[in-house]
């Protein structure tokens, strides 16, 4: 006999689920409100009580990136992050391969030689990736300790001394940005979650984040996201006028159903080419249904248990 998990919309199980949901609503109130707020409701910097500040972010224009990796090195140097090792990956000129607990800026390379259109134009896509500082950040939603916050610049920030290393944020992030630190070359690590702070410490002193400061071609621009979004839209229009119909913004407004990013990109190819999700999932979308499903399963199992063990109990009495 095979046990079939109740699935939403699946006959009897669906009815069971719906009943459970109703029960849950009775107990804990209206479901959507009980779960983490949607991006529109994210606390704004002004809510911090201090002076009203603007939300700060990055605009990374990949059409200007020359792949020099100055951002990667400047980030490591400023934040004193260790090199992870010396691995020849063979991924074009990309040997750090991904964002991690100790690589907060990462330059991706994608060779498209003679593959594009009939003209056989060769391109070599280069893109400096970074934490997206989502306006509705799943990592922040997932954090059970309150370690992940929005700081006064509107940036997603991990408070290292509060993080307990549970790792919920790691699975929640749809971009694979945040990660727990692991030992490097035998040197132990705290196992806490780490990622780009948007150079919180530099911003607090009125300085530009290290990566943007070191970028020789202004591919990485730092500023208030309102300004950056306006600039980015203008930039796309300019590029299109020049005949570059491939240029578009990723995360300036929203990506699919996913809210806007405070660190957004100008791309020239499908997001997948840059290792970005076309439709990043918001893990808390449909969370109500998943909670309900869990309750339903629990209830179902309870009933089964009651049927099996309840009778036996009577017999035993």
């Amino acid at each position: 006999m095979t046990f079939k998990l109740p699935i939403v919309g699946d006959g009897v199980a669906a009815q069971l689920l719906e009943r459970t949901r109703e029960m849950a609503v009775e107990v804990i109130g209206d479901l959507p409100n009980a779960f983490p707020p949607r991006w529109t409701e994210v606390p704004q910097p002004a809510d911090h009580g201090g002076d009203a500040r603007q939300i700060m972010g990055f605009f990374t224009d990949t059409t200007l990136c020359i792949g020099c990796k100055a951002c990667e090195v400047a980030c490591k140097q400023w934040n004193q992050l260790p090199a992870e090792g010396m691995n020849f990956t063979g991924y074009s000129y990309d040997n750090t391969a991904r964002l991690s607990a100790t690589t907060w800026r990462h330059v991706a390379f994608k060779e498209k030689i003679g593959e594009d259109d009939a003209a056989g134009i060769s391109r070599w896509l280069m893109m400096s990736d970074v934490c997206k500082h989502c306006q509705s950040a799943p990592c922040q939603h997932a954090c059970p300790t309150g370690a992940i916050i929005y700081n006064e610049f509107g940036d997603v920030y991990v408070q290292g001394d509060i993080c307990n290393g549970c790792g919920y944020c790691v699975v929640a992030c749809p971009f694979g940005v945040i990660e727990r630190s692991d030992h490097v070359a035998g040197i132990p690590a705290d196992g806490h979650a780490h990622k780009c702070t948007l150079c919180y410490d530099r911003q607090a002193e009125g300085m530009t984040p290290a990566c943007a400061k070191s970028c020789p071609t202004a591919s990485i621009q730092f500023g208030s996201v309102d300004d950056l979004r306006a600039k980015a839209r203008q930039r796309v229009n300019e590029l299109r006028e020049r005949g570059n119909d491939k240029a578009y913004l990723y995360g300036c407004d929203s990506v699919g159903d996913y809210g806007p990013l405070n660190s957004f990109f100008l791309l020239e190819d499908h997001p997948n080419e840059y290792n970005l999700p076309e439709n990043p999932p918001q893990p808390f979308d449909g969370q109500g249904k998943r909670y309900a499903a869990s309750l339903a399963v629990g209830a179902g199992l309870a009933m089964v248990a009651a049927m099996i063990f309840g009778g036996g109990g009577r017999r035993g009495r």
Binding site: G67, K69, A70, Q80, M86, Y93, A185
Partner: protein, 940 residues
């Protein structure tokens, strides 16, 4: 000297990098600028964003190619054919800038009867002497018709060297260079160095071919119809360089060449300007100087010289390589491109030297002023008019002591000891195995460097070397701090002198290079203090007063703990020059010179490097230290550019012959009739008050011989040279020759390769002569952004090493399939000089070319690895042949032949001698709570 000097008069980049943003079209060829000069590359990017066209022509598709709208893949070594086809296109389609060419170039000048072109003689010009493998320009009749009357005096008088010509070219990276070898050579701190330069003293070319006798006149034909006028000769010379022929040589399509030519032509003229950018991809060939010459011809024909957004940017190979030829580390050159005296009759006395080296017309007529001022700077009061300013104390060169012949001699046991600053020949020298063989023969070697580079540990870590016990060299390694712990200045690719302060003291017992040299000199002076021998007088008299007047302080105001550190500002002041008779009003010290025009030949001024004069005009003003941003787009107060703070050289050409801007859009320097001066945002590279209609009187000499509409003031005729009547040693026109090692033969001429190339044959330097089936693949070398030259400043840093952790070879998928090489796996590369291992980077960015019906494979090799460091790997430079360009003795690293096989040779794979250190630097920020420490500190 080189290409730029022969074409324009000075061998240095003609403009400045920021000016690239003003260009309408930039051809990058022989340069991987986005990777090798990523910070400067912001300017081409800005030009692109303003609508300019960027073109990259290169054997491999690099990060630079990815940034350009147009990319053409070519065979390494086909550059002159490619550029020649552009010249052909310009002439055939009548696209040249007529007013400009007629007024500012030697197009109309008639060449002496008897000159024969390479077209007539199967690839050789008239005047070739096979026994010496060299040209005799006089015998070949390369001179201007009308200069013959002077021929008898010529030998006595002119060495026409283009003066500063050597500079650029000469040095290196850029160049035409004379010398650096950045690709292969390098340095860790700041110097470049000469690779091998031929002694310039004896080899200066004859410039008298250009100057008419006092009562004579150079023959011109303004209609350009005379069969021997330069324009007709040029047309004839390039008539067979059609796009089709060039495409055959380069392995590209004719349409691709035509497209590049069209883009250049469309973006040149009165309203628009195009720029050409090159680096070691052009210079490191046996035809490097002529390739640059060819670019010069294009820029002169299109009227792009001396104008904003135009010119030729020669990108230098490393920091202050320009400076190290200006104030040279070269054996054959004195500061300011004055030739080192040689043991030849023409240099027997100061007077003879000045007569021989100074030119009758043009700026070099001032040679005596610069030479006397230099001697006064060297020997102070001991140099007097009566004793010829102690000219006799200057060492005379009696042979070629440039890097290659010197190391060759070293390998034969002829050298006892060697001081080495900022260079790494054991890994960076061309044919590095030969360099290591030389080092093993030394008795002692002093290496000053930031890290224990290959040259400091060759005796124990070289996997190809003998056991350490068999090496007799005693190596003294002196740790030198990074630039943050020493002050001084750099001169960058655009001749810009920029000062840097000492931010902190060096750690522990590290001392600056300057400290070492000054204290070595002090000890030598002490050692010879009591000597009465005549040969010790020079060292006794040498001015060596660089001690600080007050305690030196660091940036934070604290007193430096370093004892006996010299005051670098005093060195720069000495280079700038002093008046020896006037006093500074404020300080009472000897007055500093305000410009090189103040130099005198009577012993009343001293000047250690005339071209830098003006950089320190008063004791409270070090212009190299200034960083003042103004509304003037040229930013004249940001650093100081020699000569005389001119940012674009030959800028008189930005105005028409009458002195009016060619167009409003491209105005730069023009004649102001009211003020009776040349005005504009930059310093005019011309006598500021010489009117456009000035005509030299008969028999005029010096600057008086340059007319008001002749912008190229370093040339005796004031003109840009389409035809080089002097200066180049391998012909007045660029000619396509195959690289010395090439798998294809020359379709244009019977003469396969450069007939004047220099060979250094020997068991350690075997050449695979053309064509050699054993080595069928073309190899070219280049740099990656992540590493620096042979890696002395990058392979000890894990933040850089993780970005490019292994030596690799870029191989096309087709070649990989043919040889069974797997992407990411190992392969070996073989040349007659050696074998190396590399990881295989199989990529479509390398592509096989079809040449003469055959598929020709090329591979690309970065040259950053060696056997010392945290990241180690085989040395590309072990493969490179030493064959030299005749002008500057540059070797040919950018096109040689090899073979590639799958697998590796484990015995030659070096082991890291420095452990992996995840944090190159690590330390808590002092006086800062834990919460304020960098994340990487807190997290671990």
């Amino acid at each position: 000297m080189p290409g730029l000097g022969a074409s324009f008069g000075r061998g240095a980049a003609t403009g400045y990098q920021q000016d690239m943003a003003n260009s309408d079209c930039i051809l990058i060829m022989g340069s991987n600028m986005a990777e090798a000069h990523p910070v400067g590359f912001r300017w081409p990017m800005r030009a692109r964003e303003k609508g300019a066209q960027l073109i990259h022509v290169d054997p491999h598709f690099s990060r630079t190619s990815a940034m350009c709208q147009t990319y053409v893949a070519v065979r390494a070594g086909g550059d002159i054919a490619f550029l020649g086809a552009i010249v052909n296109y310009i002439l055939t389609n009548d696209k040249w800038f007529k007013e400009y060419v007629l007024a500012y170039t030697n197009a109309a000048i008639v060449v002496q009867e008897g000159y024969e072109d390479a077209e007539d003689l199967g690839g050789i010009f008239s005047g070739y002497e096979p026994e010496t493998r060299s040209y005799n320009a006089d015998k070949g009749r390369w001179g201007y018709a009308g200069s013959e009357a002077d021929v008898c005096q010529r030998d006595a008088r002119d060495g026409a060297r283009g003066p500063v010509e050597q500079g650029l070219g000469g040095t290196g990276k850029t160049g035409s260079g004379q010398r650096e070898t950045a690709a292969t050579a390098e340095g860790t701190s700041q110097h470049g160095h000469g690779l091998m330069g031929l002694a310039s003293g004896q080899t200066r070319n004859r410039a008298a071919n250009i100057v008419p006798p006092p009562d004579g006149k150079i023959e011109r034909d303004e209609s350009l119809q005379h069969p021997r006028c330069v324009f007709q000769l040029l047309k004839k010379h390039f008539s067979r360089y059609t796009p089709e022929t060039a495409a055959q040589i380069c392995g590209c399509k004719p349409e691709e060449i035509i497209k590049v030519a069209e883009l250049l032509c469309q973006n040149s003229g009165r309203e628009r300007t195009s720029m050409i950018v090159y680096a070691l991809g052009w210079t490191q060939h046996t035809t490097g100087v002529q390739t640059i010459r060819c670019a010069g011809i294009i820029q002169l024909l299109l009227g792009n010289m001396g104008r904003p957004g135009g010119g030729i940017m020669a990108m230098r190979g490393h920091s202050t390589i320009q400076g190290s030829t200006d104030i040279p580390t070269l054996y054959d050159s004195l500061p300011g491109y004055l030739p080192q005296p040689a043991s030849i009759e023409q240099h027997r006395s100061l007077k003879a030297y000045c007569e021989f080296e100074g030119l009758a017309a043009g700026y070099w007529a001032n040679t005596p002023k610069f030479m006397v001022s230099l001697l006064k700077a060297y020997y102070g009061d001991a140099a007097t008019k009566e004793n010829d300013f102690r000219y006799d104390w200057l060492p005379r060169i009696d042979g070629d002591y440039s890097q290659l012949p010197f190391f060759n001699s070293m390998a034969q046991g002829n050298v006892d000891g060697y001081f080495l600053f900022g260079q790494n020949p054991a890994a960076g020298g061309p044919n590095a195995g030969l360099h290591r063989a030389g080092l093993r023969q030394l008795k002692w070697l002093v290496v000053l460097d930031w890290f224990e580079i290959e040259t400091a540990c060759f005796w124990k870590n070289d996997p190809k070397g003998p056991p350490p016990g068999d090496v007799g060299t005693e190596v003294f390694f002196f740790p030198v701090p990074p630039i943050t712990a020493k002050e001084g200045c750099f001169t960058n690719t655009q001749r810009l002198i920029q000062w840097h302060d000492r931010a902190v003291d060096p750690e522990e017992d590290c001392r600056s290079d300057l400290w070492f040299v000054w204290n070595l000199g002090r000890r030598l002076k002490e050692l010879y203090a009591g000597s009465t021998r005549p040969q010790d007088q020079a060292i006794q008299a040498l001015t060596w007063d660089y001690a600080y007047d007050e305690e030196p302080r660091l940036a934070d105001g604290s007193v430096s703990r370093i004892e006996n550190e010299p005051d670098a500002a005093k060195v720069l002041q000495e280079i700038n020059g002093h008046s020896l008779v006037e006093r500074d009003e404020k300080t009472g010290k000897r007055r500093l010179l305000r410009a090189f025009s103040e130099c005198k030949d009577d012993g009343t001024t001293s000047c250690g490097g005339w071209i830098y004069s003006g950089v320190f005009p008063s004791y409270d003003r070090n212009r190299a230290r200034e960083r003042i941003v103004t509304k003037n787009p040229v930013q004249p107060n940001w650093g100081y550019a020699w000569p005389n703070n001119r940012r674009i050289m030959y800028n008189r050409a930005s105005a028409d012959p009458q002195g009016r801007p060619w167009s409003t859009r491209k105005q730069y320097i023009w004649w102001d009739e009211q003020a009776k001066r040349w005005v504009g945002p930059d310093e005019p590279d011309f006598e500021p008050a010489k009117p456009p209609d000035y005509r030299p009187p008969q028999g005029a000499r010096g600057m008086a011989a340059i007319a008001g509409d002749q912008p190229f003031i370093m040339h005796p005729d004031g003109l840009g040279w389409l035809f080089a009547p002097a200066t180049t040693k391998d012909g007045p026109f660029p000619t396509h020759y195959e690289p010395v090692e090439s798998p294809v033969s020359n379709p244009l001429y019977k003469q396969e390769d450069n007939p004047t190339a220099r060979y250094f044959q020997g068991p350690l330097n075997v050449i695979a002569h053309t064509p050699e089936s054993e080595y069928p693949i073309i190899a070219t070398t280049y740099r990656l952004t992540e590493h620096y030259l042979s890696g002395p400043m990058s392979r000890f840093n894990s933040w850089l090493n993780e970005l490019q952790p292994a030596m690799f070879a870029e191989i096309s998928p087709e070649l990989a399939a043919e040889r069974g090489i797997v992407h990411g796996g190992w392969c070996t590369i073989h040349s007659p000089r050696g074998t190396i291992n590399a990881r295989a980077m199989v990529t479509k960015r390398m592509k096989p070319l079809v040449i003469a019906g055959r598929t020709i494979h090329q591979i690309g090799l970065p040259f950053h690895w060696g056997f010392s460091g945290e990241s180690v790997g085989s040395q590309t430079n072990d493969l490179i042949p030493i064959v030299a360009d005749p002008n500057v003795s540059m070797h040919e690293a950018k096109a040689f032949t090899c073979d590639v096989r799958a697998g590796e040779v484990p015995q030659i794979e070096p082991k890291p001698n420095y452990p992996f250190a995840p944090w190159p630097v690590r330390g808590m920020v002092p006086q800062t709570p834990r919460s304020g420490q960098p994340e990487g500190q807190v997290g671990r």
